[in-house]
Symmetry: C2
Subunit: 687 residues, 2 copies
């Protein structure tokens, strides 16, 4: 529920000059394409209709009202999120939503809740790793919310290094039980979403130990709280880990075990098993098959990175079209009415250079996430027919792309916020909250700096195989590496900025660079015998170069071959310009590599900069229509600055008038240590 | 007051392996220098003693206890900050603190409070711009907190462009009064610290209008709330603008005026005046003199940027020395006890490359802030003797440096946070709060992207003057520009990484680059007649290059000429390595410029990278001792990860156990929309 307006404004006041609504209408009128057609091209008609349908359901239900969220303290935030998760579960049942519809609703509601991990990792793990019987006993009640679970892997002392977790599950032959135990303080489970206050069951990853021999981490189902009374069960110590930069609507928790016994049955046994009678460990058939799921998860992360950029840049571009500040130094200083003219902030090239590449990056990530989903499906089909040849390439690329896109997206939200100037700092802009909640993406599912090593390890292997003339699978990576080795002396054939237009040029250039860096770094490892650790910086650069190649390639291929795009000239033209902006800008940003290897000259470097300026000017009239085509609903933006109606200043005022601090008067006498915010609407901690 | 521990831990649990305390002790034992001596070199003995003395006062007073802060909602945070400001005022009186001591206390208490702007901008403006009589009427009671004020300049529609503010102060000849008025919604004062709930007076910047003629923004003292009842006075509409990303302990406010009359006396009249009888406007003698204060403010901002880096990197480096994760690929996999060995995260070069340059940057900013204070004093002395020759150079450099250092520092905090992995995301790390509160620095006192134009405008002017062979003042800028013009074809004389050692080499290289970029960009403006707006990106680069030159120069000069440093060989050696790391790393980061201009070759580019690796390995054993020498007290760090005793995991647990959410049980039945967190310590909003 929205808080009341605590203060009344004088009547009849309006923002000075042309209104935000008029400015956005004017911006939209200048577009060279239909933003609805573009939205359908990007998202598909089906998705847009679904989003609209679910949006109507959510916005007519008070549980999903977001008006108060930015004023709440943690306890109230958590309460709201709990109610939201309950109501979403009810709605899913009422409307017969599947996973896809539920996800769309979840994204729109945009409030990471205490049951989030129940719905994702807990259910998925029970289903994927549980035997048929375990699915019946655990998965079925969980899917009906009769038990609420979490996925307990990370520990206080162990995050990325899963093999190093300390929690043990020791086989007790006599009673055919597992004993779950936390030998140290650092063995405590930590960061587990939904564990702190909500879950009554957990999938616990623990070192499986039989006769003093460890078989590595395995998943066990452990009851942790009484389903009725919500009391912790004996031998478990559980709680919330305290406030975080974001995600405070989720109760990330800790958990310690003191010799907790669970039945043999509770080891999830679809793959690895232990014979209850003999205590014999039966390993899984092929551990690599799990890579398939991982690729799917990461394709989702890359898609999310794209939508995150779309959301943030929508706010920034709309606001910068409404906001006017200073007059351009060269422009006339006064309008027809004699009043000083101020320039739309979006006209300043220093603002464009920060925002337009982000807009373009959203497209780049979009095409690559589509590519990853296609690859995932092709790979799953291959695996079923026994062909594992795509597995390694898919896995490596997904590691590199997860790393690059999450780091990029978190930085980009902050760039958008800064581009909104002072008002970007207000919670009303929506950007601080989006930023704080997105940040964990760069850490979870593999810390993005570390994960890049998996990608480069594969690039090394591939380069070695090609040079060793062994049998080499044909795939995207081997393609560009072989091409590089056959064209080592290649340089950019660019004389004028007009020569910068062909997607193939950029694909070759980025492929050449990725292969060049890999070859150079591999030489340091194999020939100069440098230690792995001393090379981490270079390894990171290889992974980044490979991932950027993939982004260029997939975006470029759309320009060259996407029939849906090429059959709509108005769309094709603008997307092609966006590709060029993005490719030139990325090449300029990474130009040290291209310059140092001699691939481009200093003069060509300057051409890239000029081309970027040239395309920014071309894109400027289309900027607002482009973010419209991202189709991010106002409800999701939850931003005074990004509103599609441009009523920025009215919305900022409304936000201010409802601030509960405005319900109190304060005693400012420095000799009196009483605050006397009596009769106010303010909560007061009992601490 | 600290909240209770809501949950009891099993007894006797300790973190696995070597404890954090032992690890930090080991790290300290490896140092090649005395961190106390280094602290004295950096901060001076006097400051360290003062900090210690004030620290003892604050930490023995419950008002300054920080234990609960991260759990509080906004209302409680604001209450705490109000009490803190009152108590600081009392302590200042009790202990006879001057401005300097009060500032040290303020920094340690680290809670931007509702009286912060009263103490800074309100008092300063009353004093500097008030006539002697106005000082008596306004400044004196304000300095005794008998009236509480704020500084109301920014408006909803106008931030950086002060000339564009809309609030009017119209001269009413009949009654010899000013009428203060807000003609539009966007004319509302906005973002004004302390205005929302606290201040009873304001310095209001408004367009001074006499007989329909505007003389631009001037400062007026306006009473806004009744000093006793705290009610808004008639014609004023005032409130808090709502929650922000940080700074929620300050009541940033808005204010609208409806034809409010104030006496003639209330225009602050030390410089501009209006004759009450005639209504004649008397302009100030020399507007440029205000640049002096601005330079001083910016020198403070650069010094703050340095201490911000010191604080953030102290947390990250200590934590990364305690945190162990994975084994180095080349290292032995098991220790003598047969258990797998994990590597200190700080040993990974990919972590070092993120943290060590920040540590080095803290030194660089430190030397440059000292340089700015010196320059400020020299300049003030010059001005008094009528010599304005340093004014423009000082002002331009301070603009560029403010821009560069604040953007760099805000990014760096976030780099430090990410380097702490998952736990960096916890509020317990201290970094999210530091980040959120530091961010406004990049926007206020001139948006950092826009401000850079002032610097480049001066660079253009200087380059034009030199080329035009007119009279040119001798200063740092003209020095490097003239050197460049006389040595245009210069290239780096570097063959081996060992050649990278001489501060003069880096000073020349960065000076050459700054002048080269200025010359190139100026040609686009003057010869190619490009519009100012189309050049903003290049203008920004010039300002950045100039500012980086100054940083290199000031750091390099310390290596060459600082007697205090050079008389202590152990300190000198390590600071010299830090300089080299920083210079090589900055040159590598900016290498596109050096490569494109032909100043360095691809081979030399690679030497920079090797040199960085080489010095990082040298610095590694000294890393913890170096952050110790920054002398940031644990009280200020307020970080479980950065504690000087290394008890990271124990502190994270303590933080979790006190989370008030742990005082409640929750109803998770999805069919029951009651949360039932009964009998808990949780506040509940009345919204």
């Amino acid at each position: 529920m929205a808080p009341p307006r605590y203060i009344e404004l004088p009547e009849g006041l309006k923002p000075a000059g042309v209104s935000g609504s008029e400015l956005l209408a004017y911006e939209r009128s200048k577009a060279s394409f239909d933003s609805k057609a573009m939205a359908e091209y990007i998202h598909g008609k089906e998705f847009l209709e679904l989003q609209e349908r679910i949006l109507n359901i959510l916005t007519s239900d008070p549980v999903f009202d977001k008006t108060s969220d930015y004023y709440y303290g943690r306890a109230d935030k958590f309460r709201r999120a709990m109610l939201k998760d309950k109501r979403l579960a009810q709605l899913a049942a009422e409307h017969g939503w599947g996973q896809y519809e539920a996800n769309v609703a979840e994204k729109l509601a945009d409030l990471p809740g205490p049951m989030g991990l129940h719905k994702s990792m807990f259910l998925t793990t029970l289903y994927n790793q549980g035997s048929d019987e375990q699915r019946k006993v655990f998965y079925e009640p969980a899917s009906k919310y009769e038990i609420i679970g979490c996925y307990a892997q990370t520990e206080l002392g162990h995050g990325s290094n899963v093999q190093g977790i300390e929690t043990t599950a020791t086989w007790i032959a006599e009673s055919q039980e597992w004993e779950i135990h936390s030998p140290t303080l650092t063995a405590s489970k930590w960061w587990i979403g939904g564990l702190g206050r909500t879950a009554d069951h957990a999938v616990v990853m623990a070192q499986l130990i039989i006769n003093n021999k460890s078989y590595g981490p395995h998943p066990f189902v452990v009851a942790i709280r009484d389903v009725k009374t919500r009391e912790m069960l004996p031998g478990r110590t559980i709680g919330d880990i305290g406030p975080k930069a974001g995600y405070n609507t989720t109760d990330n928790g800790f958990m310690l075990f003191e010799h907790v016994r669970i039945p043999h049955f509770n080891l999830l046994a679809r793959f690895s098993k232990v014979e209850p009678e003999t205590g014999k460990y039966l390993p899984p058939p092929n551990a690599k098959l799990a890579y398939g799921t991982l690729t799917w998860v990461r394709a989702n992360i890359v898609r999310d990175a794209s939508t995150v950029l779309m959301r943030a840049v929508t706010v920034a571009i709309r606001y910068c079209a409404v906001r006017r500040q200073f007059a351009d130094r060269d422009a006339p200083k006064f309008g027809q009415d004699g009043k000083p003219l101020e320039t739309q902030v979006l006209d300043y090239t220093m603002v464009q250079i920060r925002l337009f590449p982000i807009l373009a990056q959203a497209f780049a990530f979009h095409y690559t996430s589509r590519f990853m989903f296609d690859l995932y499906e092709q790979n799953q089909a291959n695996i079923e027919s026994g062909d594992l040849s795509l597995l390694a390439d898919t896995h490596a690329s997904s590691s590199g792309l997860k790393s690059l896109t999450t780091l990029y997206a978190s930085d980009a939200i902050e760039v958008c916020r800064k581009a909104c100037g002072g008002h970007g700092y207000s919670m009303a802009s929506g950007l601080p909250d989006q930023y704080a909640n997105y940040l964990p993406n760069a850490t979870w599912e593999g810390d993005s700096y570390m994960l890049s090593q998996q990608c480069t390890r594969y690039l090394f292997k591939t380069m070695r195989a090609i040079k060793g003339k062994g049998k080499v699978d044909k795939n995207i990576t081997t393609d560009y590496m072989i091409r590089y080795l056959e064209n080592k002396g290649e340089t950019a054939n660019i004389q004028f900025s007009g020569d910068l237009y062909d997607p193939l040029f950029f694909m070759r250039a980025f492929g050449h660079r990725a292969a060049y860096l890999t070859e150079q770094t591999l030489a340091l490892r194999d020939d100069a015998k440098r230690s792995w650790n001393s090379l981490l910086v270079e390894l990171y650069r290889c992974s980044k170069a490979h991932s950027q190649y993939l982004l260029v390639r997939n975006f470029g291929m759309a320009i060259l071959k996407d029939d849906k795009l090429n059959s709509q000239p108005a769309l094709r033209q603008i997307v092609q310009r966006i590709f060029l902006l993005w490719a030139c800008h990325t090449m300029e940003e990474e130009s040290a590599d291209f310059l140092a290897s001699g691939y481009i000259t200093g003069k060509q470097f300057h051409l890239l900069g000029s081309k970027v300026q040239e395309i920014m000017a071309e894109l400027r009239p289309n900027a607002v229509a482009l973010v419209d085509s991202f189709a991010v609903p106002d409800y999701l933006l939850n931003s005074a600055l990004g509103r599609s109606d441009g009523k920025v200043y009215e919305a900022l005022f409304d936000f201010a008038l409802r601030e509960p601090l405005n319900s109190a008067k304060w005693n400012v006498d420095i000799h009196d240590m009483e605050t006397t915010d009596f009769d106010s609407d303010l909560p007061r901690a009992k601490l």
